[in-house]
């Protein structure tokens, strides 16, 4: 049963991933991206990390995709078709990507992973304790740093998106 679910998710991920980088309509490409992200949340559910799947669904499928859709709607006409790269460039890139994929897969399949059979469940409380722990292996410092990063990027986004008006006001003589 889990095998079938995994193969369906993998097929959806690869098919819609390809569709999202080759589609000529901007909005459709974003919707395909959201299908990929939701299927990845499904993989997280399969390996029993429910908290991570919830984060993936809310932050990625809920937040980032909506943000990108907003920018598409502000910037494009919906029916506009995208300009594509030259066919020669596409073919060269595809060959390079296939070679890279071959290197990756040879490296992966020639390495003998020491897999531990387990069915441990992780609760959200475990994750929270580890994130806020001061002891060795605790993640309190990156947690604080990421909060400062989010604040900085929020202020930066506001300043950049308002850009022109702010600079005009700054350039006026006092």
């Amino acid at each position: 049963m889990e095998r079938i679910v995994f193969y369906c998710l993998a097929a959806v991920i690869i098919a819609f991933g390809v569709a999202s980088v080759t589609s000529r309509k901007m909005l459709r490409s974003v919707i395909y991206l959201s299908f990929v992200l939701i299927s990845i949340a499904g993989i997280f559910f399969l390996v029993d990390y429910n908290f991570l799947a919830a984060i993936q669904l809310t932050v990625y499928a809920g937040g980032i995709v909506v943000l990108i859709i907003f920018s598409v709607l502000l910037v494009h006409h919906i029916e506009m078709e995208l300009e594509m790269a030259k066919a020669s460039k596409k073919i060269v890139t595809a060959i390079a990507c296939l070679i890279g994929l071959g290197v990756f897969l040879t490296a992966i399949y020639s390495y003998d992973f020491n897999v531990i059979n387990n069915s441990l469940t992780t609760t959200t409380a475990d994750i929270g304790t580890g994130l806020l722990s001061y002891e060795a292996g605790g993640f309190i410092l990156p947690f604080e740093v990421i909060s400062v990063l989010l604040l900085a990027s929020m202020i930066g986004a506001i300043v950049i998106a308002k850009g022109k008006k702010l600079t005009e006001k700054n350039n006026q003589p006092q």
Partner: protein, 105 residues
Amino acid sequence: MIHGISIYEILTVTSILFFIGVYGFITRTNLISILISVELILNASVVNFVIINKYLFPEVLQGVYFSIFIIAVAAAETALAVSIIINLYRQISSVEVKDIETMKY
């Protein structure tokens, strides 16, 4: 872990996803499409962290923490990128890579 699925199959899927992202990053000529490709690449790395944590080191949670941080950084990056794209569109009315010659004023 997923019963009946080996780690090799999942790593194969994430490698393919990563190279789909690289392909889109190189061939697309539009800033928003490039942003979408970056999201695909980041997601492939997130799945790798989680899978390696679950299959090889199930008793620790380091991979989960790193995935959470990657997702947070990706959200911050997307917010900034969208604001830059909107600002550029206001000034030069285009989001094509070839039209962007200057990022300052």
